[in-house]
């Protein structure tokens, strides 16, 4: 592979690679632009601090919350809920989704329910969950599971179904039994896609977590945002949003690394 060159022609060619240093430079540049614009409109007084805090207000608030342990307390509460909900959902959806994509009989049985459930907005279930399970951690975990489980199932079944038929045929002619097909062929063949599906649905899990925390919770980043809104502490809301963004970024990279490690053959 030729190494990407830096010329006007190269960087304006559709789909052409650009040099690595340029990727890093541009990645930093976007944040410089965002923070500079933010600084410009806040320090100039264009927008009052009550609605949009200055960057240094957010930074000092964050430092204070790190010192008194509040940030850690609520971040770990959120992470815990997302983690439990995501793992519970995935542990069932991965095998079930693969079976659904492999065996038409499983698909025919589950499809009507799954397709009904996945178009229902999870938020409409929240009042029901609160009635049934209260406002403890179980309620938030349930919201996350309902939010991502059926979506995971559909995507996983699709990915299993798209395993090339001749790959399975080749396995048969090499002595693979039909009963072993799911775990010996469909699972490894789908592995890169499985990690991508988990990565994407992890992002959705964060969204549903915040929804659940905004509605009914006593801890978590969504909860402190809501509390901050009542006290007009916009800087706290900013801190919480930034924290969720950073956690999202970390889990996203984590899944990319995991995929690289578990499926090194996939480019």
């Amino acid at each position: 592979m030729k190494s990407p060159s830096f010329s006007f022609r190269a960087i304006t060619t559709p789909f052409e690679q650009i040099p690595k240093w340029m990727i890093v430079f541009l990645g930093v540049a976007i944040w410089v632009v965002v923070i500079a614009s933010w600084s410009a409109i806040t320090y100039s007084g264009m927008i009052t601090e009550t609605f949009l805090p200055t960057p240094d207000m957010v930074v000092s608030r964050t430092l204070k919350y790190i010192q008194n342990g509040v940030l850690w307390e609520h971040t770990s509460a959120s992470v815990q809920v997302v983690f439990i909900g995501f793992v519970l959902s995935s542990v069932v959806s991965v095998p079930l989704g693969l079976f659904m994509g492999t065996y038409r009989i499983v698909q025919a049985f589950l499809d009507p329910l799954v397709n009904f459930m996945r178009y229902l907005p999870v938020t409409s279930f929240v009042p029901l969950f609160i009635l049934w399970i209260g406002i403890g951690i179980e309620q938030r975990v349930t919201v996350i599971i309902f939010g991502i489980f059926f979506q995971q199932l559909v995507m996983l079944a699709d990915t299993a179904r798209s395993v090339p038929r001749d790959l399975v045929n080749a396995a048969y002619t090499l002595g693979t039994s039909r009963a072993h097909t799911v775990f010996h062929i469909v699972l490894p063949a789908s592995l890169p896609n499985i990690f991508d599906i988990l990565r994407v649905t992890m992002g959705w899990a964060w969204t549903y977590l915040v929804v659940a925390e905004l509605v009914a919770a006593r801890s978590g980043l969504g909860y402190i945002s809501l509390k901050a809104m009542r006290g007009f502490q916009v800087d706290v809301i900013f801190m919480a949003i930034a924290m969720i963004g950073i956690l999202g970024l970390i889990t996203d990279q984590g899944f990319r690394l995991l995929r690289k490690y578990a499926a090194p053959w996939a480019l």
């Binding site: 001749d166 790959l167 080749a170 048969y172 002619t173 090499l174 002595g175 053959w265």
Partner: protein, 266 residues
Amino acid sequence: MAKSRYANLRSADIVIDDVHLRYGTGPSSVLALDGISFDVKPNEFCVIVGPSGCGKSSLLYLVAGLETKTAGTITVNGKPVSDPGPERGMVFQAYTLFPWLTVAKNVEYGPKRKGYPAAERKDIVDHFLAEVGLSKFADHYPSQLSGGMKQRVAIARALANDPMVLLMDEPFGALDSQTRHTMQGLLLRVWEHSKKTVLFVTHDIEEAILLADRVLVMSGRPGQIKKEITINFDRPRNMDLVLEPDFISTKREILELLKDTDDDEH
């Protein structure tokens, strides 16, 4: 290559008797094969040529047990075929190496399914990778190989299982002509060592004559065997054969046969 204990292991005959295959039912059904009968002798290299869509792949899939016939009988080594099994190895036109396994692990797959001990599996893998000239690529993943190399591994993988017959469905169909010629030479050499019964499908007439003991020419859909041509060139053969007058006249004969009923070709 020195005679190895993996050379010339076992091979069997294939008997195909009045086989019919219809895809689907009702008015939209397709009659793919219409009364196919022929035998392949043990150690024979039998090639089927025919226009695209005449049912060549269908026939191989039937022998492999990957498709179910509508009528007729197919036996391999005297046993009726019902399911796929490791005694009938197959190389497909599409690349079917397991992408999650290295080259060596792909070749090892069949022996592993059979529960062979690790030391023996290693011997087998070493032998067949050397056979196809890819020992150096043992630890590569399929995605790092060219199309020709992938098919060489696929051949090694099929042979490592010591099948009684080897079914090949246009294995070189997706390769450029240069690579295809190399592959034909390689297959001939490997086959001289293993002497498996081979049923090979192609729509490339030169390839058919070059490889075969016997060429079966099929008609357009619904597929029937139109003619059987015995190829008597001495072995081992090489590419120079293509220029021999006898080769060219055989090629002309097959071309004429295909031209007659060739209206189905796209």
